[in-house]
Symmetry: C2
Subunit: 239 residues, 2 copies
DNA sequence: TAGTGGTCTAGACCACCCA
DNA sequence: GGGTGGTCTAGACCACTAC
């Protein structure tokens, strides 16, 4: 017999490293201590630390670089831009993308948003509308719901910084997007979406509803994205 | 300096095990030899074999079971049914699913299908139409393109066996589906789809185009699925 | 009890990056 | 040259399953 809460040593080490990550001990892009130093610090062998880091690298929390070190994952890296955007052109090459903020205002959380973001009904939220353009074509119209408490001074001006949204959230507000759940449906374009996406009223659009989580499975963003799939598609790989 | 084709020992071991898998040395669901036996056979340490198997388990090619052994992955296992079907109910519990074969006929590959399935134009293909019902509701209308060479005697009768398609392909034809690429778009229902899915003509439908691969990145199925997303959605998790 | 996968260690050496 | 991650080994012990 053993305790039902038994977990192997490398998972305990993983939890310790995770706690340091959450506490902000190391910021996005920073190097964490070397495997041998962590091994010494925790009093375990290097192989055990290695296995802990292996799992965290597989979960995109850390990034290893041979010869250099292990780094805290970041959304600043342009290469990770499409980690949360599964958009690809039907044919031809990908155009440069541009995020165009449209509106930004405060509101009180209704029952739905409150439930999804684990807030109290009536809690202050910030709503953002923005358009994602690829080349000159508007492709995604997003409506984004955020807890105002975490993003206190968010405004259109702040959004016009040019960097990607998640990169902005990370550097300005210290909120790191780790994981997301998406639900996809086909819907008919309403007047607002149709106008922004320059498609006929009632055209079929791909609706992508996303709940994004930070450390500890805490939901911090709800997003409804309307995708115009004339020239682009949502790409997914099943393993 | 070293050869540009250098690969670590555990990857070479992985390739050897992979070759045995492809050759049908062990069938789906069968146990493979123990780690220590493979280590002896290949003349490497158990840890190296272990790392090779680790990767293959992460790719869903093998399944480990502590105390019992390591087994070749199979689609027979009911638990793996939703590995390639990212469908979930908007609310409420999942109903039992039922695959209803509608039509099955031979044809010659057009340019598109030939390109996607890596066949010559005009090569014999088999086309299947089927309906996926959840509870009593028709949810997905699939049109499936297969190389006739790999599925020689496929017919409506064969399809009525009740087991899942990929399970059938695996047991009857020895074709194992390993990986798939999906492209999602929103489209308007055409007459045929609308009728089978019992929705209004022109309703928005989620079109899921899937290319499925067996070992060695060989494409063996092309599938166009029309999803009715009134009560169900396509679920995707982003890590 | 015997056999399997799962964990942990200690130590050696390789590949890579940088100063 | 010195530090980092990456590979490989040999051996010990733990956890689980089956008989």
């Amino acid at each position: 017999m053993h305790s039902p809460t038994f977990s192997p040593l490398y998972r305990q080490i993983k939890e310790l490293i995770l706690r340091d990550l959450e506490s902000g001990e190391w910021g996005p892009g920073d190097p964490i201590p070397s495997e041998s130093e962590l091994a010494g610090r925790f009093g375990v062998s290097q192989g055990t630390v290695r296995k802990a880091i292996d799992e965290m690298a597989a979960e995109n929390l850390l990034v290893r670089q041979q010869g250099k070190g292990t780094f805290v994952a970041t959304h600043k890296d342009p290469g990770s831009f499409f980690r949360f955007l599964r958009l690809a052109p039907n044919d031809g090459d990908l155009q440069v993308s541009q995020s165009v903020p449209l509106e930004c205002w405060r509101a009180k959380a209704g029952a739905d948003v409150a439930r999804i973001l684990a807030l109290n009904t009536g809690a202050p939220i910030t709503i953002v509308r923005r358009l994602l353009k690829l080349g000159d074509e508007p492709v995604v119209f997003d409506e984004i719901y955020l807890p105002s408490e975490l993003f206190p001074d968010l405004s259109l001006d702040v959004l016009r910084s040019g960097e990607s949204l998640y990169s902005l959230f990370e550097t300005r507000y210290g909120v790191r997007m780790i994981r997301a759940d998406e639900r996809l449906r086909a819907v008919s374009a309403d007047r607002v979406s149709a106008e922004w996406l320059q498609v006929a009223d009632g055209s079929p659009l791909l609706l992508v509803e996303r709940v994004t989580f930070t450390y500890g499975h805490k939901p911090v963003e709800w997003r409804r994205g309307f995708y115009s799939t004339r020239n682009y598609h949502y790409h997914n790989e099943l393993g």
